[in-house]
């Protein structure tokens, strides 16, 4: 037992969580049973590489993991393959070791070999002298009077143990450790608090290889242990089959880790925002480049942010890959010392996190954190004071940072029906006209937005093209104009919406948008009061009888009227936006909205899926959004 003042610490407190509240206890004396340079809590995708990197740098490292293996989503979660992300980094060498055992000791997989990865990650970390505590949870964090982390309290099979560290890396899925010490955190969609749907993964042996099959299974607030427990049980039960045979593949296991894609985000020293990125406000000091589409999942686009909808709905570029330069500062929790956040909960808005969350990129985030911890310790400086050039030099050695990964925007889907190519935003008027005249107008539409934002004249030409005989040119010009905020587009948008234009744009390999739905979104974005009556018509029960709305049936007889749902939900949201800005119209809009979701009857027009099903829950959520909005009015 050591008196803290003997150690030069004036005051120490232990932060912990009790009954969902963050609280703390003042500590007079402390007896750290172990001392480490770096403790990584959560040895998942990022945490595993944070620990390996720090240990490889000859630091004394302890890895703490609630499960009994490393790798998290990329092993226990069954997400075995890489979905984009950029190449280079420590993981490339580890992957080669994994490949060595794939097909020799462990069964090959159609993607990476999860069992080999569990073994190799563990051996890699141990080979650098690190310690691992499995089946261990962190229940408290010790902070000094400067909000600097001094150690943690863990609970494991020996009971509670207090351990000191110079740097703590929060590699948990939900920024649990950052939350515990009082870092400001964010969770869920602004409109309704929900998160990206989780996936449920089951593995089987098919054609001599392990194949993981997954599907979006619902949304869950994993911060609520009751809700999480129900989600896990429901998700596992979804894999029950009528008959089990070896034909067509033999089931192996349901992954023990739910495929949760979104957790708490911390407030960091810097925050990565999609809006800033689209406006060209990017860091000049990247530590790596993240690379993926803005992979938002879920189909209730109407309730996403306008930044996201401008890109995915109005411009139909949802499946375009973007390159995001990631700054180190998003890993530094604001107002705290001695702690880094590595993983999906780094300081980002959720729009950006749809892109900056892929396994390769999170492994890189871990590598950055491990190196940053090293520099802080050897240079005896705070984590926020480390030298960028020094950090980048370390990252360049493994190509975690590689300037060649700054690839810009790409149509880049494997097995795509769209040509794989780098996107150059258009500046030539003829190129823009050609693009807008086609069935793939997305690049031209977004280029108009960029030109307009940079005060380059484009709206005059777009207004001229509104009168064109070419249907595509006229309608896509209206969309581009609206995206520039020009209201002369509205008569044309009303026409597109009222004729329920069901033309599907063709820019992307997935998530292509319906032109009529785009028009409804933009009508809401521009707060078109003249379209209130038209929008109200869209949400009346008889609208579903329009011949363009067709039910899509599943093999087991359930159906979902997807196009109707898009018109319905976007019309609801457009009315909400107008109602927010025009108080005199609220009574009328409120009455129509109430009627539209009365007694949840609208659900039966959209789907016959069961209440427990994900589709049903998303459709039902529309009613909740309406009720919550009306309450605020």
């Amino acid at each position: 037992m050591r008196n803290l003042q003997e150690k030069g610490i004036i005051a120490m407190r232990m932060c912990y969580k009790e009954n969902n509240r963050i609280t703390y206890a003042n500590i007079d004396e402390i007896d750290f049973k172990h001392a480490y340079d770096v403790i990584v809590v959560g040895l998942g995708t990022a945490g595993a590489y944070a620990a390996i990197t720090a240990a490889k740098n000859k630091l004394k490292v302890l890895g703490i993991e609630r499960l009994n293996c490393m790798g998290g989503t990329s092993t226990a979660g069954g997400v075995l393959g890489y979905y984009f992300g950029s190449s280079g980094g420590l993981f490339e060498d580890v992957d080669k070791k994994i490949d060595k055992y794939s097909g020799t000791v462990y069964t090959s997989s159609t993607r990476a070999c999860g069992e080999a990865k569990i073994y190799v990650l563990e051996q890699e970390l141990l080979s650098y002298g690190a310690d691992i505590f499995y089946e261990t949870i962190c229940t408290g964090v010790f902070l000094d009077e400067h909000n600097k982390v001094k150690g943690i309290r863990v609970f494991h099979q020996e009971g509670f143990t207090d351990i000191s560290c110079k740097v703590l890396i929060d590699g948990t899925g939900d920024s649990d450790i950052c939350e515990m010490i009082g870092v400001k955190t964010y969770f869920g969609r602004e409109m309704d608090g929900v998160t990206v749907p989780f996936t449920s993964v089951m593995t089987s042996i098919i054609d001599k290889r392990i194949l993981g099959t997954n599907f979006d299974c619902g949304r869950v607030d994993q911060r609520d242990p009751w809700e999480l427990s129900k989600a896990i049980i429901r998700s596992n039960s979804c894999h029950l089959k009528e008959k089990y045979t070896a034909e067509g593949g033999r089931m192996l296991f349901i992954c023990p880790l739910l495929g949760i894609r979104e957790g708490r985000f911390i407030e960091g020293k810097e925050t990565l925002r999609l809006k800033d990125f689209f406006e060209g406000k990017i860091t000049q000091k990247p530590v790596f480049y993240a690379y993926a589409d803005v992979d938002k999942h879920g189909f209730d686009n109407a309730f996403e942010s306008e930044t996201l909808q401008d890109w995915t709905v109005a411009s139909n570029l949802g499946a375009v890959n973007v390159t995001v330069p990631v700054p180190y500062e998003i890993m530094i929790p604001k107002g705290f010392l001695g702690i880094l956040r590595a993983g999906r909960g780094m300081s980002m808005d959720r729009d950006m996190a749809n892109c900056v969350r892929m396994i390769r990129d999170m492994q890189k985030a871990g590598e950055v954190a491990g190196n940053a911890a090293y520099l802080s310790i050897v240079n005896d400086c705070e984590l926020e004071e480390i030298d960028y050039e020094q950090l980048r030099a370390m990252l360049e050695k493994t190509k975690c940072y590689d300037a060649a990964n700054n690839r810009g925007f790409w149509f880049d889907g494997r097995g795509d029906n769209v040509e794989r190519r780098r996107i150059e935003w258009l500046t030539d008027i003829d190129d823009i006209k050609k693009g807008l005249s086609s069935s793939k107008p997305g690049v031209a539409i977004w280029s108009c937005k960029l030109l307009h934002r940079n005060n380059k004249e484009i709206t005059g030409a777009l207004e001229e093209w509104l009168k064109a005989d070419c249907e595509n040119l006229s309608k896509h010009s209206a969309i581009a104009l609206a995206l520039c905020g020009v209201k002369s587009s509205l008569p044309h948008l009303r026409q597109i919406a009222e004729e329920r234009d069901n033309f599907v744009l063709q820019d992307c390999r997935k998530h292509n948008q319906i032109r009529g739905v785009i028009a409804v979104y933009l009508i809401g974005k521009l707060r078109d009061v003249k379209m209130v009556d038209g929008l109200i018509e869209f949400i009346k029960p008889e609208e579903v009888n329009h011949p363009m709305y067709v039910r899509e049936y599943s093999a087991d007889g359930y159906w979902f009227n997807k196009i109707y749902f898009q018109f319905f939900s976007h019309s609801i949201m457009a009315l909400i936006k107008i109602g927010r800005d025009y108080k005199d119209l609220r009574k009328k809009i409120q009455s129509a909205l109430k009627e539209a979701v009365k007694d949840n009857e609208y659900i039966s027009r959209i789907t016959n899926y069961k209440e427990e099903d994900y589709i049903y829950s998303v459709v039902k959520n529309v009613g909740r959004i309406v009720e919550s909005e009306i309450c605020r009015w």
């Binding site: 609630r66 069964t107 020996e158 979804c238 029950l240 070896a246």
Partner: protein
């Protein structure tokens, strides 16, 4: 996270779930893992004597489902992985509550009740209960009873690109047969003291250096729970806190039945005490 229950079951094991099903009153199952029935499913223990186990309503329901879905064969071979979605479907429709990913930190006896300190994504919390059915026997929670573990192994599902059966002429490990064609489980014995790191290392080294006739076989899935064997019996910590070791049953049906029978005999229903 305050809650008051007639019975708290420690461990979402088959015996624990059987007890939760048969108990009357408010029942809560607390489980530190994210999966249920792991003492057979996740540890890849195919069990034995499936058809010798006498079943009541609960066991009967399961047995019927297992047969009709092709999970269990008349000769007692089982397709273990399919038990997990079946068990989840059943639990989903049961009236008791389940709290997964929840660690039990401490249990304090206060007169006729128990204060159970837990930890999960809500942080620390306390649950109160009249009765505890403990299927894990964690020595950290009580020191009155020591449930001895008799043996321990790490198991793995094999895959072979061959029509030959895998044969292991080695007393060190065993190969067990599953129900579906080509379904074989390697059972590799461990020392009781082995942890995940040493267990995985031993298994890896063993399979890396396996005999040439087993070369076509690879480890498709390594169990994420240890397969253990414990002494049968009901161990009493207090009159209302009993341990039914989950690793002491021959197969999941037997475990369900013993758990249910125990709860029925005890008639666990004492909410008025609280």
């Amino acid at each position: 996270m305050q809650g008051v229950y007639d019975t708290v079951v420690l461990g979402a094991t088959f015996s624990g779930l059987g007890a939760a099903y048969a108990g009357c009153g408010r029942t809560l199952v607390i489980e530190r893992r994210s999966n249920m029935g792991y003492e057979f499913i996740a540890c890849l223990n195919p069990g034995s004597g499936w058809n010798e186990t006498r079943v009541s309503d609960i066991g009967g329901f399961f047995k019927k489902e297992l047969y009709s879905r092709g999970i269990l064969s008349p000769d007692g071979l089982v397709h273990l992985p399919a038990l997990e979605p079946l068990l989840s479907r059943w639990v989903k429709d049961c009236s008791f509550s389940v709290l997964l990913l929840t660690e039990v930190i401490k249990i304090k006896k206060v007169e006729n009740t128990y204060e159970i300190q837990i930890y999960n994504s809500s942080g620390f919390g306390t649950i109160k209960a009249c009765n505890i059915v403990d299927t894990l026997g964690n020595p950290l929670l009580q020191s009155r009873v020591n449930v001895g573990i008799l043996s321990k192994s790490i198991n793995a599902m094999l895959y072979g690109d061959t029509t030959q059966e895998p044969v292991l002429n080695n007393q060190q490990a065993q190969i067990l047969k599953g129900k579906l064609s080509g379904e074989y489980i390697l059972k590799y014995p461990l020392e009781i003291e082995d942890n995940w790191i040493t267990a995985r290392k031993k298994l890896h080294e063993f399979w890396l250096n396996r005999p040439s006739e087993l070369k076509p076989w690879t480890l498709a899935y390594v169990a994420n729970s240890f397969d253990m064997c414990a002494e049968k019996g009901v161990y009493q910590v207090y009159d209302t806190w009993n341990i039914l070791p989950c690793y002491s049953f021959n197969n999941p049906l037997e475990a369900l039945e013993v758990g249910a029978k125990f709860a029925r005999e005890r008639n666990y229903c004492h909410a008025d005490v609280l």
